[in-house]
């Protein structure tokens, strides 16, 4: 009985903390969202009135709902004016980011970093390098967003587990939606059009997460992804071939089912190994795309207007109109023979069976959610460094700001000096943009970042 009463107490406490004591705070039009985030307690909802906000917002508290209110065409608009790097960054678990229009940021539109049980919904994100970018998260939902103009991926799920990406629209990006080094994920009901590549499923070298598997891509519309690839030439996304419906490079156990795949100029589905793209530098990755199942999709007009690198590569074969192109040594992949599609490079593929179907697969998220560990200051320093600082600073060479090695030399043994500069930066060199103040990150996080940079980074 004691156990039962303890349980009752825990449930009550949980209810109280999550609902009864949760407050609803409002940011007046054009006010400081960060100020209200700073005042909020875990479990609070922050309503942001329609208006224009030239701000970056950082949320590192758990169970915060950040909701943009909308009045017709008047959104809660975050506008970085092409000066700020990040729109909204969150590392607090159970974050909800809903209903914002985000534009004019040079790095991330909306990013979660290390946040479990996240939800990113009903936002409209334009431009940025990455549009919506959950990274290092377990159990998340990305739903009902529209993303355009990203120089990398519009919706980019990186190094995450158990994520659903549902009913979004992605157009005019280099890659519409990407799963990168991600395990157990569902992409369903999305409309992906006019990107250079519609959907990319990748395993990228040199990252802490060394595998990618169990992804279901079903019931999406993947139409006319023929946009010129406008990724900066020095970025990894620059190698993505335009005119590709779905690109699979490296992950295992992938099901592509019941999608409408049409009018992608080069190919409907392109399955390759990491070696094909010269991405085999990390020996701890299995470079082969194994277990790719392509079944029950609707195909129309793919590979009918081949151009660029894929056209040059396939010219010697004289083949066009290819629905599934495979290059590499993957095993246990299949197409459904009844689909009657044209394939190339699938000599070792098999026939899919009916019981391969995942048509009824509803969610990759965890029942009951993921655990929500409290991050140490050390972890917070690393997470924020990766999310924020690397947008403008590389380790050993100049990016938008000086190299981290030179910063380490300047502030060696002087973390407070570094924090002082981050808080109130001044232009030091001609020809470089002035660093925006990073005060929104808060004193504790800034201390943690300085400590990480000076004591751990590259050591």
């Amino acid at each position: 009985m004691k156990t039962l009463s303890t349980l009752h107490g825990a449930v009550l406490a949980s209810l109280l903390s999550s609902t009864a004591l949760a407050a609803e705070l409002t940011v007046p039009s054009g006010g400081s969202i960060q100020d209200v985030v700073n005042q909020a307690a875990p479990g609070d909802t922050i309503l942001v009135e329609p208006g224009i906000y030239h701000q970056s917002v950082y949320v590192d508290k758990p169970r915060i709902t950040l909701r943009g209110l909308r009045d017709g065409d008047n959104w809660a608009l975050l506008d970085g004016e092409m000066k700020l790097n990040d729109g909204i960054i969150a590392s607090g678990h159970s974050i909800v980011i809903d209903g914002f229009r985000v534009t004019g940021y040079k790095g991330n539109g909306i990013m979660t970093q290390g946040a479990n049980n996240f939800e990113i919904s009903n936002n409209y994100v334009e431009g940025a390098f990455y549009g919506i970018f959950p990274q290092f998260g377990r159990n998340g939902l990305v739903i009902g967003n529209t993303v355009t103009g990203a120089e990398d991926a519009g919706i980019y799920v990186g190094m995450s587990d158990n994520v659903d990406v549902i009913d979004n629209v992605a157009f005019g990006n280099v890659m519409g939606i990407e799963f990168e080094n991600t395990r157990n994920a569902l992409m369903a009901g999305n409309h992906v059009y006019d990107n250079a590549a519609g959907i990319t499923l990748t395993l990228v070298p040199g990252l802490p997460v060394k595998d990618a598997y169990s992804q279901v891509i079903r019931d999406n519309r993947i139409i006319g992804n023929n946009h010129v690839n406008f990724a900066p030439a020095s970025s990894i996304a620059a190698g993505v071939p335009s005119g590709t419906g779905i690109l699979v490079v490296g992950p295992d156990n992938i099901t592509i089912e019941n999608n409408e795949i049409a009018d992608n100029d080069n190919v409907g589905v392109f399955v390759a190994d990491l070696i094909t793209f010269g991405m085999d530098s990390d020996p701890k990755l299995d470079p082969y795309s194994d277990g790719v199942r392509v079944m029950g999709n609707t195909w129309r007009g793919n590979g009918e207007n081949m151009n660029g690198m894929l056209a040059e590569m396939l010219a010697a074969t004289g083949k066009t109109g290819i629905e599934v192109l495979a290059m590499g040594k993957g095993r246990d992949s299949c197409v459904l023979p009844g689909d009657g599609i044209d394939t190339l490079g699938t000599r070792r593929w098999q026939d899919c069976l009916g019981d391969n179907s995942v048509a009824g697969f509803a969610t990759a998220r965890l029942e009951g959610g993921a655990e929500e560990p409290e991050y140490t200051l050390e972890q917070k320093g690393r997470l924020t460094y990766l999310a924020v600082c690397t947008g403008c600073h590389a380790y050993d060479s100049v990016l938008h700001g000086p190299s981290m090695q030179s910063i380490q030399a300047i502030y060696d043994g002087d973390p407070s000096g570094m924090v002082g500069y981050i808080t109130d930066p001044v232009r030091k060199r001609e020809g470089f943009p002035e660093m925006p103040p990073q005060t929104y990150l808060g004193e504790e996080t800034l201390d943690a970042i300085a400590s990480y940079i000076l004591e751990d980074l590259g050591k």
């Binding site: 060394k210 793209f277 020996p283 460094y385 990766l386």
Partner: protein, 358 residues
């Protein structure tokens, strides 16, 4: 040419299959930095940075070449060494006409030309490894681009003198094939890469037909690498590739770059037992038999392959041997991959670096 330079064929073929894209629109941090104005500024700075001290006279140039031609941990030193070597060859004023070449070439001069060309192939490989797996800043991109162009220009000059000998000298043909593959790995348009791979394959087939043992089996190794990477519908043939790589291994059993490629080919064919047997041989190879930078690079790579083959103990041994050599020779480059634009670096939750993770 040191042994690791031979792996360029694999990489060059990959690069030829899928090149890079068009210029960027403006917007992000990275695309801002790719404006013509910014690139020109960094290029000018890079030119100043990589300029080598002036040295005159054949003997002094060759001494400077030999001092750093194999310093694969230091691209700046190696860049100057290859420049000095190429300038020394200029001073030899060798003929470009075939008849004149055969009549007047002294064996030593030919060998020296091939040696300097081989050093350029190693230098291309070092440069290639200096590019980030994810994103490099504009400063590094400008430097590497300029280094690549300069190296290619120098190597073209060497090739112009070696070309007349190709029909007479199998080694020259092999090095031309290796040059075509290495020099088009970066900073090259897709059509030029495709043409280079096609010509290299022809050269390799002729060279192997004449003498597969030349240059310690370089021909079978390079052709094996190319056939392993090409897709089946473009002439790729993994079984033929494995046969060539096994031939290369038999000719040069202590070459870790052969182990690297052949183990990977076995794993691609899921022949794990053969891969493991070869990995066990590799761990026993004496580091002094290799360029030390090649040794630590290959131990890192082979250790990863051992993990993939389900042999963590073997991977641990390789890691230990690598760490020992790195500790004893601190000039070597440990090839750390650092974060950029949200990618790479240490795991933010565990603090572990990718190379520490098993």
């Amino acid at each position: 040419m040191t042994r690791n330079g031979k792996t360029v064929a694999l990489l060059a073929t990959c690069a030829a299959l899928l090149g890079t894209a068009l210029a960027a629109q403006t917007g992000s941090v990275l695309s801002d930095l790719e404006s013509e104005e910014v690139r020109a500024r960094y290029r000018a700075e890079a030119a100043e940075k990589i300029a080598c001290p002036r040295i005159e006279g054949y003997d002094a140039l060759m001494a400077a070449f030999e001092k750093n031609a194999t310093s694969k941990w230091d691209r700046a030193a190696m860049g100057c060494a290859t420049e000095y070597g190429a300038r020394a060859m200029d001073e030899l004023s060798l003929p470009t006409n075939l008849i004149w070449a055969v009549a007047t070439f002294r064996t030593g001069n030919i060998e020296t030309h091939l040696e300097v060309l081989g050093a350029h192939l190693d230098y291309f490989e070092v440069l290639d490894q200096s590019y980030s797996a994810h994103y490099q800043g504009v400063e590094l991109a400008a430097e590497l681009g300029l280094r690549w162009e300069q190296a290619r220009e120098r190597a073209e000059g060497l090739m112009a003198r070696i070309d007349p000998l190709v029909s007479k000298l199998n080694e020259a043909r092999l090095l031309r094939a290796a040059y075509l593959l290495a020099s088009t790995l970066r900073e090259t348009q897709t059509d030029a890469q495709n043409a280079a791979v096609a010509t290299a394959v022809e050269d390799l087939q002729i060279a192997i037909g004449e003498n597969p043992e030349a240059l310690d089996g370089l021909g079978p190794l390079l052709l094996g690498q190319v056939l392993a990477v090409l897709p089946e519908f473009l002439g790729g043939d993994i079984l033929a590739a494995i046969a060539l790589l096994e031939q290369a291994h038999a000719l040069n059993p202590t070459d870790l770059s052969v182990h690297h490629t052949l183990v990977e080919a076995y794993l691609g064919e899921r022949e794990t037992d053969k891969a493991l047997a070869l990995l066990k041989q590799a761990v026993g190879i004496d580091p002094v038999a290799e360029n030390l930078q090649d040794y630590v690079d290959e131990m890192k790579y082979l250790g990863g392959l051992a993990l993939r083959a389900g042999a963590p103990e073997l991977a641990r041994q390789m890691g230990e041997q690598r760490a020992t050599v790195l500790a004893a020779h601190q000039q070597l480059d440990p090839r750390k991959e650092m974060a950029a634009l949200g990618h790479g670096g240490a795991d933010p939750l565990t603090g572990k670096k990718p190379e520490d993770l098993n």
